[in-house]
C-alpha cells in the first residue's frame, strides 16, 4: 500500500530554508559542515575530542518535533516498511553513509552548496539508487 502524499511546495521551501539556516549557522558558529551522518557517526567513534557538540546537535534534532507537538499538535508520519526491511535499511544507511562520507545533508545540502565534485557524484548515485530501490519494491515485487 503506497500512501499518497500531497504536493506541498510552500512548506517544503520554508522547511528547506530552515535546514539551510541551520547549516549556515553551524558553519558560522563552529566551522562545521551540517552533515547528520558525519555528526552522528563521529559521536559514535572510538575516541574523539569533540563529542559534546555532536550530542547537543542530535538532542536539538530530537527536541524539535517535541516543541512542534507541544505548540501545534501531533506530527503524523507513515512508515510502510516492515521490521526486517527496517533493519536492512538501517544497516545500509548506517554503513553506506560512513563509507561514503555523507548523506542527504552533508553531501546534499552542504557539499552541493560548495560545488564539491564528490558531493555532486554522491547525490547523483544515492538518488538513483533510492529511486531504483523504490521502483523494485513498489512496482516490480510490490
Amino acid at each position: 500500500m503506497d500512501a499518497v502524499t500531497p504536493f506541498t511546495p510552500v512548506s517544503a521551501l520554508v522547511g528547506g530554508a530552515l535546514i539551510g539556516l541551520s547549516a549556515v549557522w553551524l558553519m558560522a558558529a563552529n566551522g562545521r559542515i551540517a552533515g547528520i551522518s558525519g555528526i552522528a557517526g563521529g559521536a559514535l567513534a572510538p575516541s574523539i575530542p569533540d563529542r559534546l557538540w555532536r550530542l547537543m546537535f542530535v538532542i536539538g534534532l530530537i527536541a524539535a518535533p517535541l516543541i512542534v507537538m507541544l505548540a501545534a499538535g501531533p506530527v503524523a508520519i507513515t512508515i510502510e516498511a516492515g521490521p526486517l526491511t527496517l533493519i536492512a535499511a538501517g544497516l545500509l544507511v548506517g554503513i553506506g553513509t560512513q563509507m561514503g562520507s555523507g548523506c542527504t545533508s552533508g553531501h546534499g545540502v552542504c557539499g552541493m552548496s560548495l560545488l564539491s565534485p564528490r558531493s555532486l557524484v554522491s547525490v547523483a548515485v544515492f538518488m538513483a539508487a533510492g529511486a531504483a530501490a523504490v521502483f523494485i519494491t513498489r512496482h516490480l515485487i510490490g
Binding site: A12, S37, I62, A63, P65, G90
Partner: protein
C-alpha cells in the same frame, strides 16, 4: 580524552550550545518540510508511481540559503566559537564514495529514512523508528570501530 591541547575553544560552552541551536533549527526544518515523513520521501523517489516532488523544493530551499550563507560566512576567515572552518579536504572520486552512496541510497529507498529525519522521528515514540535507528547506529558504529 586523547587530546592534550588545553583551552580548546570548541570544548567550551558556546560551541555545544550553538550546535544545540543548529540541531533545533534543522529538526524544525525537517518537520515543517515534511522530510520527517518516510512516505513523502518514498513518493519523491517514486517517479513512476505516486510522485510527490516536494522534496526537490526542500532541497532547493536549503541549497539557496546555504549557498548564499556559506559565501557570506566563509570569507570571514574564522568561525565564532572555533579555531578554523573544518571543510572536507578529500577530492578523489573513489570506490568508497560511490559504493557508500549506493548502499545508502538503497537503504534510503527501502525505508524512506535518511539519518536526520530518522533521528528527529525518535521524538514520535514509534517502535518502527527505534528499529531503524538501532540498525542505523549499529551500522555507523560498526564502520567507525571496525573498518575505519
Amino acid at each position: 580524552m586523547t587530546d592534550t591541547q588545553t583551552a580548546r575553544p570548541a570544548a567550551s560552552l558556546p560551541a555545544p550550545l550553538a550546535a544545540l541551536g543548529a540541531g533545533l533549527l534543522f529538526g524544525l526544518g525537517l518537520v515543517i518540510s515534511g522530510m520527517i515523513n518516510p512516505a513523502k520521501v518514498l513518493n519523491f523517489l517514486d517517479v513512476a508511481g505516486s510522485w510527490d516532488p516536494s522534496l526537490a523544493f526542500v532541497m532547493g530551499g536549503a541549497l539557496a540559503v546555504t549557498a548564499i550563507g556559506y559565501r557570506l560566512v566563509l570569507p570571514r576567515g574564522k568561525p565564532l566559537f572555533a579555531e578554523r572552518f573544518a571543510l572536507p579536504a578529500a577530492r578523489q572520486l573513489d570506490p568508497r564514495l560511490i559504493g557508500g552512496a549506493a548502499l545508502f541510497g538503497i537503504g534510503w529507498g527501502l525505508a524512506g529514512f535518511c539519518p536526520g529525519p530518522a533521528l528527529s522521528a525518535a521524538a514520535l515514540g514509534m517502535a518502527e523508528v527505534y528499529i531503524f535507528l538501532a540498525a542505523m547506529l549499529a551500522g555507523m558504529a560498526g564502520w567507525r570501530w571496525i573498518v575505519k
